[in-house]
Symmetry: C2
């Protein structure tokens, strides 16, 4: 069932809900739904519900809540991905797949080795597009939270954010090459539910050693880690991490 995110909370007391704009268009034109059909809606408080459509006008879809949904589909920890701008449309693939895999937010970062550069105008456009991709993927994967895409950060901005997280990992190829493979597992065995994990990934060229040092110096809780012995592409590494976090915390 398609799901739609609304701007108001959904509580036990909510009975009627009105959808307008894009949602109205999608329900009436794209899905060609009719009264009595049902959709999922998700409130601003992340409460999901089943809405039975009662009326569709030129401007609005009106429905009545027939059931609150109680299954929790969100990761029990918060995961914020900091991504050094990769080439082409790889960040779009990351946004879509990371949303399916439960990411909380994505932060695009300018790094030394990145070939891709965004000026202000391009950044605004790209971020709006990524936010749309996250929204669509959240609807399709039945999430109750739409991941937030932050403005373009510099490495200095990331350093300042390190303390927002209880844990901060830097995926670093040199750590993989050293054969030290236990660091991620050790970290995941120490997390408490509700913790925030920051994770930094470089672009295709990797992270510059100076940048790794800047991050490591930002806090004792910052660790480099490997994601197994194989070399993963820039867009595959964040998906491995999210899958591992899900496996460790949800299964």
């Amino acid at each position: 069932m398609q799901r739609y995110f609304i701007d108001n909370p959904i509580t036990d007391e909510t009975t009627e809900v009105t959808l307008t704009g894009n949602d109205h268009h999608h329900i009436s034109r794209v899905m060609r739904m009719t009264p009595n059909q049902k959709i999922y809606i998700v409130g601003s408080n992340h409460q999901a519900a089943i809405l039975q459509i009662t009326a569709i006008s030129e401007e609005e879809v009106i429905g009545e809540i027939v059931d609150l949904v109680t299954t929790d589909v969100e990761l029990p920890v918060e995961v914020i991905l900091y991504i050094g701008l990769p080439k082409g449309d790889k960040l779009e693939l990351i946004a879509q797949k990371a949303t399916e895999l439960g990411v909380t937010a994505i932060v695009p970062v300018t790094t030394k080795h990145a070939i891709t550069k965004w000026d202000n105008k391009k950044a605004t456009k790209k971020i709006a597009r990524l936010q749309k991709i996250c929204q669509a993927a959240a609807e399709q994967s039945h999430r109750t939270v739409v991941p937030y895409v932050y403005d373009l950060h510099s490495l200095k901005d990331v350093v300042e954010r390190v303390d927002d997280h209880e844990h901060f990992v830097v995926a670093y190829e040199e750590t993989a090459k050293s054969g030290e493979n236990k660091l991620l597992k050790n970290m995941l065995m120490e997390i408490d539910m509700g913790d925030s994990i920051g994770a930094f990934f470089g672009p295709e060229g990797g992270i510059h050693p100076e940048e790794v040092n800047q991050l490591l110096n930002a806090g004792d809780h910052v660790k480099t880690c490997s994601l197994g012995p194989r070399i993963l592409r820039a867009e595959t590494a964040p998906l491995y991490l999210l899958s591992a976090i899900s496996y460790a915390t949800e299964l």
Copy 2:
């Protein structure tokens, strides 16, 4: 360093190696390498080595082995993915990413809900293309094994192969919906190194309940499993499984 797969084994006694055909073209034309430069080569016995180029002619690249590489980058278990034909070029994405994540082989399967159909001619072409993608991804991710892409299988063929594996999991959305999330972890806690894991994934429309039953009836070691509480797209689910297997067995 680029790596190339050769048809002969590499042993302590191997001193000189000659590369021809595509590898010669790639080394001399694409990479424009010159004598004294080094490349990785991987023998048919999965032994990797560093080769120093001694001569490049119009037809051949000749080099001498300067070091055997001992790091093991292969998953300690064998993972064969059985994939119900997904739409568009998603199988290509799966082949590339699954190779990075350590897959042993990929088996395309015709299923009831699949929208995509391959006739014999198309199958031959598609499989050759997938095999090429696996080869390129194996080189890039520094693997010592190139995953094998099997011919198109029917569900009946898969049922007959179930006993090739010590463990066989069917990723089934209904299992995810039932909230039974422990089955994959339970299976992975029981595997021994060297075991073979078969894993079946449906196309976008999912697996038909009848097909699930056919697989379940094929052996006591066949289990349905969920990959966490979120709905993953057809091309994301196999990547989640491989990441989880790597996390459970390699980290």
